[in-house]
């Protein structure tokens, strides 16, 4: 089965009168890899569960291709949706062997025995776990359990694959390997994938489309590069990127940005007298000596692709974390003071009231 496009219209879900998902609209074409990204409690898992048919929307609709699977008066049950889901906990059936776990959904789908055997062997091979077929889940390592969970999900050839933070239980190296593996499987199956995570790196590296959620609403929806390059709000700016961009509350006086009493650069738009939030990418800032007008307390330095991310806390009235990228490792120990130099203009300005973009002042 090949993938189908997915469309959500005004989708919402209330629990005890509180909205967990508060009106979501999005559309992705067949074969996409959609990542639902956001901090915990943003509604991403609830959205995924509504796609799976495990929760019923309070309002709005869901379409897979031309087919409406949830909407007013309609709720196609999970079995008829053609979805497969990989759970965060893997949710393997502990009383069935690996073989049994992968085969059972095929039995449910009433596939003939011969086909089942062939298909089980095929997906176990695809995931390189053929030799584990007779084992029980309790006898497998975390990574192996993960693979079984994936094998089980793709065995019935679903047109939509759902992943609920599938990597969060794996160690860092395995996580990177498994990301590649998942993409390979995504391509091999041709299914449309929906992937829930709070880790923007996963989103950046895997997604064709990212929906960043916050408080049950979509903060921004688009290709990952777009969220990075063109954040629609201060929230997006502080959530995306490695490291995420710095956003400072500044006051605009005579077209100058004033932060903590210091003039830190120009503002092109006519915003005099207003407070705005100014975004500075880490790579836009530069490191200076402690004699600079704005200084920070050094916290840590992490290497990143041959450069270094310096993180510290600004020594201002509002203690604010700040990240700066440098080419050379700094000679600093935690607690040392260092100066921060700002570029001539902020990379972007957001409204202090609602976080939306004020002007593209690049």
């Amino acid at each position: 089965m090949s993938g189908s496009s997915i469309a959500l219209k005004a989708l919402r879900k209330d629990f005890r009168g509180t909205a967990a998902v508060d009106g979501i609209d999005l559309e992705v074409p067949a074969g996409s890899f959609l990542v639902l990204l956001g901090p915990s409690g943003c509604g991403k898992t609830t959205t995924l569960r509504m796609l799976a048919g495990l929760e019923h929307p309070t309002g709005g609709e869901i379409r897979f291709g031309e087919r409406q699977i949830a909407g007013p008066g309609i709720s196609v049950n999970a079995a008829q949706r053609g979805v497969g889901m990989v759970f965060q906990s893997y949710a393997l059936w502990p009383h069935m062997s690996v073989q049994g776990n992968v085969e059972w959904p095929l039995k449910i789908a009433r596939r003939p025995a011969a086909e089942r055997r062939r298909r089980v062997a095929e997906v176990l091979d695809l995931l390189d776990i053929g030799e584990l077929a007779k084992r029980y889940p309790a006898e497998l390592s975390g990574g192996q359990q993960q693979r079984v969970a994936i094998a089980r999900t793709i065995a019935p050839d679903p047109s939509v694959l759902l992943f609920d933070e599938p990597l969060s239980n794996l160690d860092a190296k395995l996580r990177v390997d498994t990301r590649a593996e998942l993409l390979r499987i995504h391509r091999a199956t041709g299914a449309t994938s929906v992937y829930v995570t709070h880790d923007q790196v996963e989103a950046m590296s895997m997604a064709t489309h990212v929906a960043l959620l916050r408080g049950g609403r979509i903060e921004q929806f688009g290709p990952p590069a777009e969220l990075l390059a063109d954040p629609a709000s201060d929230f997006v700016a502080t959530f995306m990127g490695t490291p995420a961009a710095n956003v400072l509350n500044v006051e605009v006086k005579a077209r100058r940005a004033v932060f903590d009493g210091h003039d830190i650069g120009r503002i092109d738009a006519a915003l005099d007298g207003r407070r705005v939030r100014a975004m500075y990418r880490a790579e836009s800032l530069r490191l200076a000596g402690p004699e600079a007008s704005i200084t920070a307390t050094f916290a840590e330095s992490a290497p990143l692709a041959g450069r270094f991310v310096i993180t510290g806390t600004l020594r201002t009235r509002s203690t604010q974390r700040i990240s700066v990228i440098t080419d050379a490792p700094p000679a600093l120990s935690p607690g040392d003071e260092f100066g921060v130099l700002f570029p001539e203009r902020p990379d972007r300005l957001f409204s202090a009231e609602d976080g939306t973009v004020v002007s593209t002042a690049c």
């Binding site: 008066g73 999970a78 079995a79 502990p94 009383h95 959904p105 969970a149």
Partner: protein, 583 residues
């Protein structure tokens, strides 16, 4: 829009299943309870309410007995949970030796009739208040104060000794599913073992602990034998002795009123306890992630802990068990010094003994009663466990966010908890009235084996549903949702996922049901016919004629059946859950 939601709710198979179960419980529980209540609302009943609630009789009928019942019930529940839960922790989570033996012995007390434990208490602590034979301590010349020989202390102590078994079985089944990583993780933080037990293991097994406490509470307040034997001599009355007394002395309405009070008290306790436990998330310990089991090393404490545990189980199982067996071999009732005889077991009819009655093994009725008892116990255990599984399932899966579903869940929980508290006579009478005549196409069931099974299921529902609830509560919803997304319908999920994963807890519950049915049930006395002889009825027959040894001999047979069932279930459990075996 709301009507749309309602429609969808009503299409939800879990809700439909819950509604179906509600209908079943209505027949099994609601009708008898409603009958009980409505009979107290007729003129005589209203007089009884007045007598019980107000006026000069209220202190004797209600106030004191109610306080005593609450005291005994609460102490029994706490004691049973502390002892049974602690024992379960030691057996399941630590490297204490002789685990199988301890587990077996700990399941003995529940199989013993409560009078056997009262007997054990008396044989040690009885003083000369009543007269006749005294216990060991008084015999040795020690002065045993009345509070130790009679009243709330011995009543609670014997009930705890009886019901800690329940708590142990339920908690052990739940603990067996705890991932030892959880415990190890906690230990690495430097927490003491006690602290680990309290903060990590306890929350995980909380549903089982609460189930055990609720059952012990209900049994504690409804038990008649212990307060009657050990309480009456110091005029210690509970609601159950008052209710029983009222019914046997012909004041049926008053007895029913007291039972209604008992039902209300228990309902409040149930609701309060579920509120206290809260709707905490993720009690589930059977997750899709495999779990290895590793035991906590007791180290230097191993020897003393082993000794204490063995002493506890021996005192509550071997001692009363032997006393019971010995009592069936005594020439004279209760006299351990006047000689022994096997007459009551195997003796031929001898006019000089027991009015010429032959030993029980020569009684042809006992063989037929043996098989009927076994058949009844098994039928009820299977039927009640199925019902318990379904009840446990819907109670854990109904969504509390939806008021309709939340209400359904509460209703089912309440209904399945109450049958304990309805006196056997009232429940039995209700069943006769209900099934005494044909219902539509169904023939009248009264007088058949079927009505015994139905009544048995109703009466043991609290065990079955609590066991089902704690068993299903251990299963992570993920594991089942994975099956949902694989396209499995409700029936398929229940059969292929929920049933095998909860089988351990269900078996434990099934054994409780079985034991309770074969042991003694006043309800059945009302429903049996000569075509359906039961061992418990034979005990009753002998006991009511003062043939204590015969009664004890039959009771020994019952205990042996119960223990055999327990052992068999354990074997079955091991064979059925290879994935839980230690490796």
């Amino acid at each position: 829009m709301p009507s749309d939601t309602l429609k969808r709710t009503l299409r939800d198979p879990v809700v439909l299943l819950a509604l179906g179960l509600l209908a079943v419980l209505a027949v099994l529980v609601l009708v008898p309870v409603a009958g009980l209540v409505s009979s107290t609302l007729r003129p005589e009943g209203l007089d009884a309410w007045r007598d019980v609630l107000t006026g000069r009789l209220a202190p004797a009928l209600l106030h004191e007995p109610l306080l005593n019942s609450l005291l005994v019930g609460a102490v029994t529940a706490i004691g049973a949970v502390v002892i049974g839960g602690g024992l379960a922790w030691v057996v399941v989570m630590t490297d204490v030796p002789l685990r199988r033996t301890i587990t077996f012995l700990a399941s003995v007390p529940f199989a013993l009739p409560s009078f056997a434990l009262a007997l054990a208490w008396e044989s040690v602590f009885r003083n000369d208040l009543v007269g006749g034979r005294v216990g060991l301590l008084t015999d040795l010349g020690l002065t045993v104060p009345d509070w130790l020989a009679w009243g709330p202390v011995p009543v609670s102590a014997t009930l705890i000794a009886h019901y800690y078994s329940l708590s142990f079985l339920l908690t052990a089944a739940a603990l067996a599913t705890v991932n030892s990583e959880l415990v190890e993780a906690a230990e690495l933080t430097g927490a003491s073992r006690l602290r680990v037990a309290r903060s990590i293991a306890l929350p995980v097994v909380l549903p089982a602990v609460i189930s055990g406490a609720l059952l012990a509470f209900a049994e504690g307040v409804s038990n008649f034998a212990a307060p009657a034997v050990l309480g009456l001599p110091v005029r210690f009355h509970t609601l159950s002795t008052r209710a029983y007394g009222a019914i046997t002395t012909g004041q049926t309405e008053r007895g029913y009123v007291l039972s209604v009070v008992l039902v209300v008290v228990a309902a409040i306790v149930l609701l309060v306890s579920t509120r206290l436990a809260g709707r905490r998330k993720s009690f589930a310990t059977i997750t899709g992630k495999g779990a290895r089991r590793k035991r906590v090393r007791l180290g230097a404490a191993r020897l003393p802990v082993t000794a204490a545990v063995l002493l506890l189980v021996a005192l509550t199982s071997i001692v009363p068990g032997l006393l019971l067996l010995t009592s069936s071999l005594l020439e004279r009732t209760g006299s351990f010094t006047s000689g022994f005889t096997t007459h009551f077991w195997t003796g031929a009819s001898d006019p000089s003994m027991a009015q010429g009655m032959a030993g029980i093994l020569r009684n042809p009725q006992i063989v037929s009663a043996f098989w009927t008892t076994l058949a009844l116990g098994l039928s009820v255990a299977v039927a009640a466990s199925v019902l318990g599984l379904l009840l446990g399932y819907v109670m854990t899966r109904l969504r509390p966010a939806d008021p309709l579903q939340a209400g359904l869940g509460k209703g089912l929980a309440l209904l399945s908890y109450l049958p304990f508290l309805v006196p056997g006579v009232a429940l039995g009478a209700a069943f006769i009235a209900q099934f005494g005549r044909p219902i539509g196409p169904l023939p009248a069931l009264y007088g058949t084996f079927a009505i015994l099974v139905i009544a048995g299921v109703a009466a043991t529902l609290p065990f079955a549903s609590q066991a089902g609830r704690s068993a299903v509560g251990q299963i992570s919803p993920d594991v089942e949702e994975a099956a949902t997304t694989a396209g499995a319908g409700l029936g398929r999920r229940l059969f292929s996922i929920v049933l095998p994963l909860s089988s351990r807890g269900l078996l434990a519950g099934g054994v409780l049901v079985f034991v309770n049915i074969v042991r003694d049930l006043s309800l059945l006395v009302l429903l049996v016919t000569p075509a359906t002889p039961l061992l418990s009825v034979l005990t009753y027959r002998y006991a009511s004629e003062g043939f204590t040894q015969f009664a004890n001999a039959v009771t020994v047979v019952i205990v042996v059946i119960s223990l055999a069932a327990t052992l068999f279930a354990r074997r079955l459990e091991g064979a059925s859950q290879p994935w839980l075996e230690e490796r």
